[in-house]
């Protein structure tokens, strides 16, 4: 009993470490490899966390947002937890709000990513104001929030469809005769 519990804990730890490592790779790619059209970077971590959250639920999305945020903090040279807090807020709220809609509705990822990007930037700008220097929110919205949200909307639907397809594929593995 004790042995199986320990094994279960080990499995959870390995799973979480693997998730963090994977998201760190994504953050590195986002930082150094992704092209920046018009000097705007695609927030890959936000996109992945929101799309995953719309399929798997808010709790799982929160884990992705937390690990992804920490990975971004490492790559962005910002205070640890800054991106994590902003991502957690954006991802959880957008997931909870939008997951009420039907999964089949193609507007789900568009709305989810738009709300997520808006909240992410709102919290991030607020943290910058509190911890770094006062932000001109109107200017920030025009220079960072709007272009970031617009560019994130482009791959939102295809990515969501991939997540949904994967979820359906995994579900089909369940043998009916188990029951």
């Amino acid at each position: 009993m004790g042995h199986s519990r320990q094994r279960r804990i080990e499995e959870i730890v390995v799973h979480e470490v693997a998730l963090f490592a994977a998201l760190l790779v994504v953050a590195l790619v986002q930082t150094a490899l992704l092209p920046r059209p018009f000097d705007v970077s695609l927030n890959l971590i936000l996109l992945l966390a929101v799309c995953h959250g719309l399929i798997a639920g808010a709790t799982s999305a929160a884990r992705w947002a937390f690990y992804g945020g920490l990975a971004l903090d490492l790559c962005a040279m910002t205070f640890a937890g800054m991106h994590a807090l902003a991502l957690l807020t954006g991802v959880i709220v957008s997931t909870v709000l939008v997951s009420r809609l039907s999964r089949e509705n193609w507007l789900v990822p568009i709305l989810g990513v738009a709300i997520g990007a808006f909240l992410y930037h709102a919290v991030y700008a607020l943290l910058l104001t509190l911890l770094v220097a006062p932000v001109d929110f109107e200017g920030y919205a025009l220079a960072a929030l709007l272009p970031d949200a617009l560019i994130a909307l482009i791959p939102a639907l295809p990515l969501y469809l991939v997540f949904r397809w994967n979820e359906d594929r995994v579900r089909r593995r369940v043998p009916v005769d188990v029951y």
Binding site: L28, S41, G69, A76, M77, L85, L88, A125, D177, V178
Partner: protein, 296 residues
Amino acid sequence: MLRDRPYRLSQPTRRSPLLIILLLLIAAALLSADQAGLLGPLRVHAQTIISPVLGRIQQMGAWIGSFVGRSGSDQALLAELEALRAENADLKARLIQAEALEFENARLREQVRIEQAYPWQLLGADVIARTPDTGRRLVLFAAGTDQGVRPGMAVIAREGSNPPALIGIVEEAGPRTASVLLITDYSSAISAQVYQETDVVRGVIQGQWQRGSRLLLHSVAREAPLAAGNTVLTAGLSAELALSVPRAAVPPNVPIGVVETVQDVGRDRIAAVRPFVDPDRVRYAWVILASDESKK
């Protein structure tokens, strides 16, 4: 019959507010701890590990970019070119080496030229990464405390026929890398001056990227003789007053940019300034390690 293969039951979506609250609390705690400086050594270690990886990925990106760019041209010509390259492998290796040396020589010649013209001791290095945030203007510089880089030092670069000009200030320095806050970031504020015939106009140069422009010169007296075309330089006030603050490492008279428009707002006069060097385009820069004003 049960099939002998792994299966997974689809679980209903659960919301565990406890885990979400816990993650939010951990993130907030990390933020507070880091702001209080408790995570400083950990951050330096993490940056030491992450920086080379970022550099490699950046190089890979540049290679992929050049490869993709080439694929659009004449395929037959490329195939012929590849064959020739294969035949001349040794020659190519030497050529690359020579090119690298020539490139490095050009950079060193440029550095010597600047050091002859200005009283600065420079250290050149690559810009290896930029922050992934659209909202910030920070870059990672491939030199750190091991090479003598310290927070507060001025970072300059050169572009086209413009003079070498300030692009940012070292914010944090690890052993082999340093993060540089670009002058265009809204949180960057540096004392600046404009020389007029018999007068010196002083003010603060503030980053304006998040506000849709580049730089703003403010805190200038309304009656100050400021006009479009004036050259804006660093004032080095902290250095002049011998203050023991990081910004004291910024020497005076480092070119910043040119005044484009002047406007009166309340009791102040403000000016939009176009930087000599676009910090976002810089791939190689120099840190001013020391300044010897007596050399002038």
